[in-house]
């Protein structure tokens, strides 16, 4: 970010702090583009930008924020002064730590720079992938989406200027197939932080995705019951994310909305289970260098050897609860508030191969592709919608396929039931809401795991 502008913002913060106990500013900028094509239509567009400035002021009791997308330096100075004057000052209830002095700048590394490839070349690559899907039998439509976004963020307070440039790439391929009576779809995703290497997709993966779409035409609904299941990494990730990710966001502790608070330090999962949230994973879609409160990214062990050791928190919630602040204060955009949010959340791998895990199941279901999930931190329930699962009989996958499946259950029971953990590891990127809003980029994943759950 322009040094002169940063200097001016620091002066304005110093001016504000003569009247209020604490002030900081976060500047968001960045550009992006999207290609979206299907059998009949094509679209190239700029992505709506998240460009704006948030002035955060502690009034002695709580944070008041003022956000604008105005970038004119003179108007920003007036905006700072007017905001500071309008703050409802209260006797200080606590102090806001400004953190250690720091001036750092970070940028995502990349092997294949997206700027080195023209829009024409990117469009041609997407058309090739669309055409590969459309050429396959029974396909009625194909949708291919590519999006790249450079996110620039600068956090400034009285002692700290930290900035990052993170490039996020996402890629979706969807095949729609028919048997003449019904239409089913299947999808493939790729992406992460970095360059175009994140969307390298082998042709065999595309063919496999289409093949499964065809098999879904004969899919059955499963009889509601409890089943032994083997979860593939995308479903393992949804379990980690929904079961013990949202459940340990400590802003929910302030509101009395998370059951996990009563279990801090307790054995909550099988002893083989470790769950980690780590925004510093290289290349992952939910990665960043600093959170939206200027906190440097680092891993947080949430569950260690089955024991709940630490939640994930934003600054305000950490101060009020007295729990450690982690690098998890995030906001959807400059227009939204900061909450405690996940980044890359996963179960750590152990030593079994996926085949060894499947071979150990006599009768069960292999849950292969997740769709979505929803948290319930107070009731400690879990909902995961699984796109499809395959029958396991005598330790082998059969041709029988179930779709869709609803995985529901009681979180501690599900985590205690994890009996085998694989040695593989994958992260799946996407967006995560707090309830039904406040969407931020995240990833989730882990290895294959075996557990027992209710399916319907």
């Amino acid at each position: 970010m322009d040094k002169k502008f940063v200097g001016r913002i620091r002066e304005l913060i110093a001016e504000a702090e003569r009247k209020v106990p604490y002030a900081s500013a976060t500047c968001f900028a960045g550009d992006g583009m999207e290609i979206r094509i299907d059998r009949k239509d094509e679209k190239i567009a700029a992505l709506k930008s998240n460009r704006g400035l948030v002035l955060t002021i502690f009034n002695g009791e709580y944070f008041q924020e003022f956000a604008t997308d105005d970038e004119d330096p003179d108007r920003i100075a007036r905006f700072f002064r007017s905001a500071t004057d309008s703050v409802k000052r209260r006797p200080p209830k606590f102090e806001i730590p400004a953190g250690a002095a720091q001036e750092t700048s970070h940028r995502t590394g990349e092997r294949i720079n997206p700027d080195a490839m023209s829009v024409t070349e990117k469009l041609d690559l997407m058309r090739d992938r669309r055409d590969r899907i459309l050429k396959a039998g029974q396909v009625v439509n194909a949708m291919v989406i590519y999006a790249e976004r450079m996110e620039n963020k600068t956090f400034i307070n009285r002692v700290r200027v930290v900035e990052e440039q993170v490039r996020r790439i996402s890629h979706f391929l969807i095949a729609f197939v028919t048997d003449g009576k019904t239409v089913k779809s299947n999808f493939l995703t790729a992406g992460g932080t970095g360059g175009l290497e994140r969307i390298e997709v082998r042709d065999e993966k595309i063919d496999e995705m289409i093949d499964i779409a065809r098999k879904l035409l004969d899919a059955e609904r499963i009889a509601p019951n409890f089943y032994d299941v083997v979860a593939a990494p995308p479903v393992t990730g949804l379990i980690a994310h929904e079961a013990f990710g949202h459940g340990v966001e400590i802003d929910m502790y302030l509101k009395g909305r998370a059951r996990s608070r009563e279990f801090l330090g307790a054995q909550i999962a099988a002893p083989i289970v470790n769950i980690v949230d780590d925004p510093s994973v290289p290349d992952a879609y939910g990665s960043y260098f600093i959170d939206d409160e200027g906190e440097p990214a680092r891993p947080t062990y949430i569950i260690k050897d089955g024991r709940y050791v630490q939640g994930i928190g934003d600054l305000y919630s950490s101060i009020v609860t007295g729990l450690p602040k982690t690098a998890n204060g995030r906001r959807e955009s400059f227009e939204r508030k900061i909450y405690s949010r996940m980044s890359n959340t996963f179960i750590q791998p152990r030593d079994l191969t996926p085949l060894e895990i499947i071979a150990a199941v006599e009768n069960g279901v292999y849950l292969e592709q997740g769709l979505s999930g929803m948290e319930d931190p107070k009731g400690w329930g879990i909902q995961i919608i699984v796109h499809y699962g395959r029958e396991i009989r005598n330790g082998k996958l059969t041709d029988r396929i179930f779709s869709p499946l609803g995985l529901t259950g009681y979180v501690p029971e599900l985590l205690q039931n994890i009996s085998m953990i694989g040695n593989d590891f994958e992260l799946d990127g996407g967006t995560c809401g707090k309830g039904h809003k406040e969407y931020v980029p995240v990833s989730s994943g882990g290895p294959h795991i075996r557990t027992r759950v209710r399916l319907g």
Partner: protein, 427 residues
């Protein structure tokens, strides 16, 4: 700025354009346990610009389009250079832009939103004074009050302006009895303060919160399930999807004009579904949409027969049909031919699903029961956990509608709809 954008668009060789100037203001207030957690003011202003480029080549005639967002004072030429490249690469079938037409008068802004901070304070007072009750207290509340002013200008001569408002209250209550506690969360979004019925909703959810303390998991079985009005837009989303002219154009729509949307013999009530962009203070009401098509109301399904695809101007041109705009607020009108609710004496009433998101293509759905009741004779047993699954298209011929009509922001229709023979997964 608008004149400058138009001048530069012409200078870059684009004949057609749509420009929307979007100015927004929002006041946000966050409460935790009876105190303020945070307060925010947000202001923004940008222009959303779409430019169109006609292309002729040996392969045929094509239309390319490119959309970008620009703020006052930015270098428009940089954006237009990118737009020229982008639009020049896109090879779509040609279509025309919407032209000027009379716009309806639709109320979309409650004037009280002009004093948003004061109104947020009034709502906060109401919440704090009513949320605490017998074994129930406030966990947290979030209040979002916003206004937006949008001015549309197109190369086809449309110059129009609209203002709209949005009121959102997101509220969580905690209930407790002995060593048991539970939560009940709800979210209200409306355009008019009177439509929030905040006190009534708090009272009702306090009752749910207390009942949440004695929930059981339902049993595995096939059963009749009542869906509350707040879940019906989501439940019927596959109907909206297959009513779309874009989906028809892609060869995926199940629906044909004049054909029944039900399959198999009718066992329940027939129904009529309308898309309405003109309900006063409807969340999806619009004087005009992003391409300048006026707000309208259309019968999409009439007594179980599919009548009309909802088409943007682009797909209306492709399929040679009327440009209606995309699906807006949903109106459901039942033709009550079968048994009223009280004749069913064993059913599940789902107050809230964890996340009801049916597959738009197949209509399959499965969702966890966040809270509901099992009605069995005179018994009303609170339930939580397990799931309900089915297929909305299979259920269309076997639905029963309540006689009571409610307005839920983007839905006007029966208070609840019963679907028979759904799979309930439990213990």
């Amino acid at each position: 700025m608008l004149t400058k954008i138009k001048d530069r668009i012409a200078a870059h060789g684009f004949k057609d354009f749509q420009i929307s100037r979007v100015s927004k203001r929002e006041h946000q207030l966050y409460l935790v346990r009876g105190g303020v957690e945070s307060e925010r003011e947000v202001d923004s202003l940008h222009y959303e610009v779409t430019v169109y480029l006609n292309q002729k080549s040996e392969a045929g005639v094509f239309l390319g389009a490119y959309t970008f967002y620009i703020k006052p004072g930015e270098d428009i030429d940089r954006y237009l250079t990118d737009a020229h490249t982008g639009a020049g690469l896109v090879k779509n079938r040609p279509y025309g832009l919407a032209g000027p037409k009379p716009f309806p008068t639709v109320e979309m802004l409650d004037p009280r939103l002009r004093s948003a901070p004061a109104q947020a304070g009034i709502l906060a007072e109401m919440i704090m004074s009513h949320a605490a009750g017998d074994r129930v207290n406030l966990s947290s509340a979030e209040i979002y009050l916003s206004t937006a002013e949008i001015e549309l200008s197109t190369s086809t001569g449309i110059t129009a302006r609209k203002e709209k408002g949005r009121i959102e209250v997101d509220l969580t209550l905690l209930s407790h009895a002995g060593d048991k506690d539970a939560e009940m969360h709800f979210n209200l979004v409306r355009r008019n303060f009177d439509h929030l019925r905040l006190i009534e909703n708090i009272d009702c959810h306090q009752e749910y919160a207390r009942d949440m303390l004695r929930v059981i998991i339902p049993q595995n079985r096939s059963a009749t399930v009542f869906f509350h009005s707040n879940e019906i837009y989501s439940l019927f989303f596959p109907i909206i999807y297959h009513s779309s002219a874009r989906i028809k154009d892609q060869g995926i729509s199940k629906f044909e004009i004049g054909a029944p949307v039900t399959s198999g013999p009718l066992q329940g009530d027939l129904f009529t579904v309308l898309s309405s962009g003109v309900i006063p203070f409807g969340l999806r009401s619009d004087i005009f949409d992003e391409e300048g098509t006026p707000g309208q109301e259309h019968k999409v399904i009439e007594n179980g027969i599919f009548r009309k695809y909802m088409a943007s101007k682009q797909y209306a041109d492709y399929l040679d049909m009327e440009a209606t705009g995309t699906f807006k607020n949903m109106i459901v009108k039942p033709s009550l031919t079968s048994s009223p609710n009280h004749a069913i004496d064993d059913y599940y009433e789902i107050v809230k699903f964890s996340d009801l998101s049916p597959d738009p293509i197949t209509g399959d759905f499965v969702s966890e029961i966040r809270f509901g009741y099992h009605h069995h004779g005179r018994e009303k047993i609170p339930i939580k956990g397990g799931s309900v699954s089915g297929n909305i298209f299979r259920s269309l011929s076997d639905m029963v509608f309540s006689h009571v009509e409610v307005f839920g922001g983007d839905y006007l229709g029966p208070e609840n709809i019963a679907l028979r023979n759904l799979a309930v997964a439990g213990v």
